[in-house]
């Protein structure tokens, strides 16, 4: 069974590596600033004792006040997992750095999130609609869609 790492303990390690990256933290998840997301992700992937080499899932939640992008990370070597989150408040053009450079599995996941929620992933090599067709107006999974 994969052990879910304690977010509070892990946040301390993240703060040591990149101070003022962490916004909020609880047992289950670590919320970081979107500007320092790539830096934190790189730290989580490349630190040997963490070694998060596998991005299981990338999704986004619309809370009306802000979007919360959720990254489910797993280390296949150490068999532990972590939920990493980031927030962006701009509804017109929410921008989050892309993590395709770290995990190739983020490619389609980020395209799906862009397609249905309209989050722009900065640095994505091929950011276009995945499930809907070219020319579709709007992002239908947003709560203010319709």
């Amino acid at each position: 069974m994969t052990t879910a790492l304690n977010g509070e303990q892990l946040a301390e390690k993240i703060i040591k590596a990149s101070p003022d990256a962490v916004v909020a933290v609880d047992k289950g998840a670590v919320v970081v600033k979107s500007e320092s997301l790539y830096q934190v992700a790189e730290f989580l992937k490349n630190t040997p004792e963490l070694d998060f080499d596998y991005l299981v899932n990338l999704t986004v939640v619309d809370y009306m006040d802000y979007f919360e992008v959720v990254y489910h990370l797993v280390s296949l070597k150490h068999n532990h997992s972590l939920v990493l989150k980031t927030r962006c408040r701009d509804r017109e053009k929410p921008v989050v750095p892309s993590v395709v450079g770290l995990w190739r599995s983020a490619d389609f996941q980020e395209r799906e999130v862009y397609d249905l929620m309209g989050i722009v992933f900065d640095g994505h090599p091929n950011l276009k609609r995945l499930l809907l067709w070219e020319g579709f107006v709007g992002h239908p999974l947003r709560r203010d869609y319709l």
Binding site: L131, L132, W133, F136, P140
Partner: protein, 196 residues
Amino acid sequence: MAIEKYPMEPLNEVDVAEGLRIDSLMAASRQSIPDPDSWLDEEISRNVLVTTVDYVLDWARSRSIFPLMFGLACCAFEMIGTAASRFDISRFGMDIFRWSPRQADLMIVAGTLTWKMAPAVKLVYEQMPEPKWVIAMGQCSISGGPFKESYSVVPGVNRIIPVDVYVPGCPPRPESLLYGITKIHQKIVKESIKKA
């Protein structure tokens, strides 16, 4: 003693003609009706059946429908179940689900059709040779079903291709699909080569 002849009117031409005509009709009615197959020899006459082109063509078409193997969503599983041994679609001469639309003449649209998939379904329909028939199977393909108001689902496949028979259900039982197929048979039997 000579019998005195009963005095008779002289023969009328019209009466004579009528009498001759009645005589000929009586004579004709006593003759046996000639066998139209008398020119055939015995071996052939036992094996030839006279019928109409329409009847034979419709009979052949309705009893050897080749459905297209093509499923979009959960209704496809009921379609597969219909083809399997328990419900046995082979009873209706539909042994083989064809992979190629060029060999098929019945399209069973089984499942939810999204706008993203619509061009592919339209293309497959257009690739099928005439004559061809379409069954809309399940609520989603009839009207969009629970996704009717959705941004991504076609509200009824009849928006993009013509449909012959609608089989309601969510998903329909195999019996329903078989009933729809017999309805297609009834429709085919009514068709005429003259209209085609």
